[in-house]
Symmetry: D2
Subunit: 163 residues, 4 copies
């Protein structure tokens, strides 16, 4: 686990923000995120059923990343909060003490579409991706989750492994 490396980046970025010298994400910061994800040993995907875990593991595998395990939790409780996807990730984290949580749920108010969020063991957001409300796209759940999972990894600098 490279939590220390992320803590260092957070600490350094905080100093920059306080000094007014912050210029945006650095290569070192995104590398810390990738290293943390790569070195996670206990990755959980909370959901009320296990339909998404195979899709997510398939994407993780294509990026050379460790497999996740399914955590069965009901989704109605996080849906009663203002940020259901983030709440679902925090619940999974607090139940399991996992290194990494990958959770998919509603972004905000009902109607606001979905969010996939990648969270570290302290409850911090490492990456995420969004899909439109399902009313406005024709993708299957499986295709939507594949796309979201890939995007969440690519946007912090991961690349698919060559075959």
């Amino acid at each position: 686990m490279n939590l220390d490396s992320i803590d260092c980046c957070v600490s350094s970025a905080y100093s920059q923000s306080l000094n007014g010298t912050r210029l945006g994400d650095t290569a070192e910061e995104t590398m810390s995120i990738r290293e943390y994800i790569k070195s996670s040993r206990h990755i959980v995907v909370p959901n009320h059923d296990d339909r998404k875990i195979a899709v997510i593991n398939s994407v993780l595998s294509s990026f050379g990343l460790p497999r996740a395990v399914h955590l069965c939790i009901p989704t109605n409780s996080p849906d009663l909060t203002r940020t259901p996807a983030v709440s679902k990730a925090l619940m999974a984290l607090d139940i399991t003490g996992a290194d990494l949580v990958i959770a998919r749920g509603r972004l905000g108010v009902p109607g606001s579409g979905s969010m996939l969020v990648i969270m570290d063991s302290r409850g911090r957001i490492l990456s995420a991706s969004l899909s439109p409300s399902h009313l406005y796209h024709a993708k299957s759940i499986s295709d939507a989750v594949t796309h979201e999972m890939e995007e969440a990894l690519v946007r912090v600098g991961f690349q698919k492994e060559k075959i």
Copy 2:
């Protein structure tokens, strides 16, 4: 303002979640979000400079939506929180009492890329969009903001006006 309409949808969706009958976003819910945005009279875009307001207003105009005004606030304080974009939106809301806030900032930890968030007057997230860390795309800020603003509107069912 159609806050009542959103409150109704939230209340109804909460009941569905509690009863275990929730099936995902409905057309009525996304319409409530659109109606709320359309009828907003006081829209603010918080930022330390006013470079993004012209771009955002250009997109709002192309969707037939009301103009936003710039609110000058420093960005270093929200950057010290765990969800900088959402924190920036809440600060703008609490300072101005606006109907709607459109805020752009960092998604999560340093390195996690950017998020544009659309928030109602109660502090709830109506829509959002994400960009990769700027290290992984070649877009200008202006193009990135245009794309994010359009995506945040399209994913809840808005369409560009025909010319």
Copy 3:
């Protein structure tokens, strides 16, 4: 409703914090909080049963404040979040669109005792009070709630009406 007055205070306090001139709560700020509470017309107390509403209304009455109404919501969902009392208040707010919410629930992790929170219509915390874990006090629920409700009012400058 004096939401404008609270917004003014928040805006002014934010400027003081940004300028480094903030010296702590002012008499004007606590007066804004009291005025907001006094002028609330729709006050809700969310709970799974209605045992606390009579106690809370009795305290509100002894301070010359308007009555609250009971909102029946299950408490298990907020208990799955990291801040159950605050989550319960936000849920009640989002369902009802109330002017004011008075919610009692767990403070933080299981074992952390209880919190009573007073929240405005934007989801901001106006006042609160805490009780020890019930294992460490001998009060009845009724006495504990009475004490918490009184304390939450007194700490922002309310006084009991003379009889």
Copy 4:
């Protein structure tokens, strides 16, 4: 560190809440909180000056608990959030990776008085205590902090050591 013990309690309490069998805090839960605090090796107290650290260490010592160290961070940034005390604790946690954070700051909106919060390494609230707005009590800062720190410990079952 007994993070595992807290995780177990959280997990078990979540199951009770989901099953509708939750009856409130248990002796095992408050003991987990106490064990976690007792076994913390790196305790930080974030503040813009170091006036409170001596007072807090004096209280910690009188309960037989390990000493805390001062972390100098500006307080204006957390004051711009909706929950300044909790935000200050999270900032200190994210900068230091501490086992335990003890932070004092404003409870909610300007005028809402102060809160002392005890947070674990995952960002969860273990205990807290509140003071009225300083306009409504005559205590020195030193006496107020002593009282808050003692109360935050006593309410989860700690007892002062006999001399």
